[in-house]
Assembly symmetry: C2
């Protein structure tokens, strides 16, 4: 079983209709402290998708990282707070030792074909992933979760820690799971958190930093994601303002064909 699917194994606890699940952090997704935020976000979404009353497909997900997830079993409770004809609003919490560690809200929806369009084009003149060299492994930190992805940087990869501040905080890279697996909303959720903290790039130094809140807007349905298959995604992130311990990052994830699959935003705590 793929390491992503291993991490997404949640077991129903008690009455399945109540949306209680148990799971645990997976060593393949370990970060410097606690698990990779993208896998935690995917686990929160997984609880919604496993709920017997789930209506439709993921449309939005907001995950708030209240504290570090400990390396121990956790409980996820997914509750449909309001079910309309074609949309459903979810509250999800992850708890350990009776303390809330993560909160999340999600909207799932049954979507029907409508007029469609796009105003966020794939950047022009991208070097295809087949022609991008893998980065020098000495530039990639040693966290386990990073080994799950193939990251091919085009612009703004990890800084060289030479203390030369960058005026810019833009990163563009081709990304896919290193071990091939079909794209779906869960895999896409992980990829939405694949960017290192923008403050590292600005300051060219590693300062303590961690995502506080992350939002994903899913634009593609299961069929459109399945059509991407195991291909690379173009992932772009940009910091907007860094102020007194928090910065925001705005990111876009495209398929190679140019379709915007997800927009994702986060606020990140940093110390300096």
């Amino acid at each position: 079983m793929h390491a992503l699917d291993q991490a997404l194994q949640l077991k129903p606890s008690g009455d399945a209709q109540l949306g209680h699940f148990v799971g645990q952090p997976h060593p393949a997704w370990a970060n410097f402290i606690g698990p990779f935020g993208g896998i935690t976000a995917a686990q929160m979404l997984q609880a919604v998708l496993l709920h017997p009353r789930c209506l439709g497909e993921p449309t939005t997900l907001t995950v708030n990282f209240c504290a570090a997830v400990a390396d121990a079993p956790f409980r996820i409770d997914a509750t449909p707070m309001r079910t309309n004809r074609s949309t459903q609003h979810w509250l999800i919490t992850l708890s350990q030792a009776d303390e809330v560690v993560i909160t999340a809200t999600a909207v799932t929806a049954v979507r029907r074909e409508t007029w469609s369009g796009q105003n966020a084009p794939l950047p022009a003149d991208l070097t295809p992933p087949e022609h991008v060299a893998a980065p020098d492994p000495r530039l990639t930190p040693p966290m386990a979760w990073l080994k799950q992805y193939e990251l091919l940087p085009l612009v703004g990869y990890f800084p060289q820690w030479n203390g030369e501040e960058s005026p810019d905080s833009l990163t563009r890279m081709w990304v896919r799971l290193r071990e091939p697996r079909q794209l779906d909303a869960l895999a896409l959720t992980g990829i939405c958190d694949v960017f290192f903290p923008r403050v590292f790039l600005r300051r060219a130094t590693a300062v303590p930093a961690g995502t506080v809140s992350m939002t994903i807007y899913f634009h593609a349905d299961a069929a459109e994601l399945a059509a991407v298959g195991t291909d690379y995604l173009l992932c772009q992130a940009q910091g907007q303002r860094f102020k007194n311990g928090f910065f925001d990052q705005s990111a876009l994830i495209w398929g190679r064909s140019g379709a915007l699959l997800a927009s994702t935003h986060q606020v990140v705590y940093y110390k300096s």
Copy 2:
């Protein structure tokens, strides 16, 4: 009392420590159906700020619009889900007739001075608000809440409903409360929802549309917002992808000095 502050009058209900409040929609903020989303978002945040245990200032707010708020009293419950040394995570619900109508999460934080920077500059060559003509009132829909704001369009104001689709969905406008009031996080929250649905601009026709989920990242603290006073804000919004009934909007709100005060994103339902 300013119409904004009138709408933000929430009364504690029962034990103040429990964060239960009652309030009601205010006619000055009525939208086509139900109240303006920006005032509802501000009411959700107000419940956090009025909570006796509130720690620090607003850093993030995500509001999910599960159903239309009826023109009747409502109850707001604000619960601190996790309180850390300098951050606090909130769950907020608005209910009517024992049904959840709005859910929200927020993070408040005590922020300390750190290295700061910005990568989202104020657009260049802006015509100052003093030289921008007020729009033809025939182009502005008649909803009550719109009268609360002075909107001075630079780019992409309301379409003329002539059926000429626009390839673009960018709006830039100077905005302030028509009746002067000092800027704070609550007033800024309302302004974050001031943009009409991007799909109107693309299609040059009014289709049913409504915000499903909205996120605000607050970059400025109370002192920085107070320094803006009653001046105009430069508000910019752009649609990114419109697909099968939902589109996302990414927006930025600057003070005239160029400081990014908030980034705000939303997903909007549309029918077409």
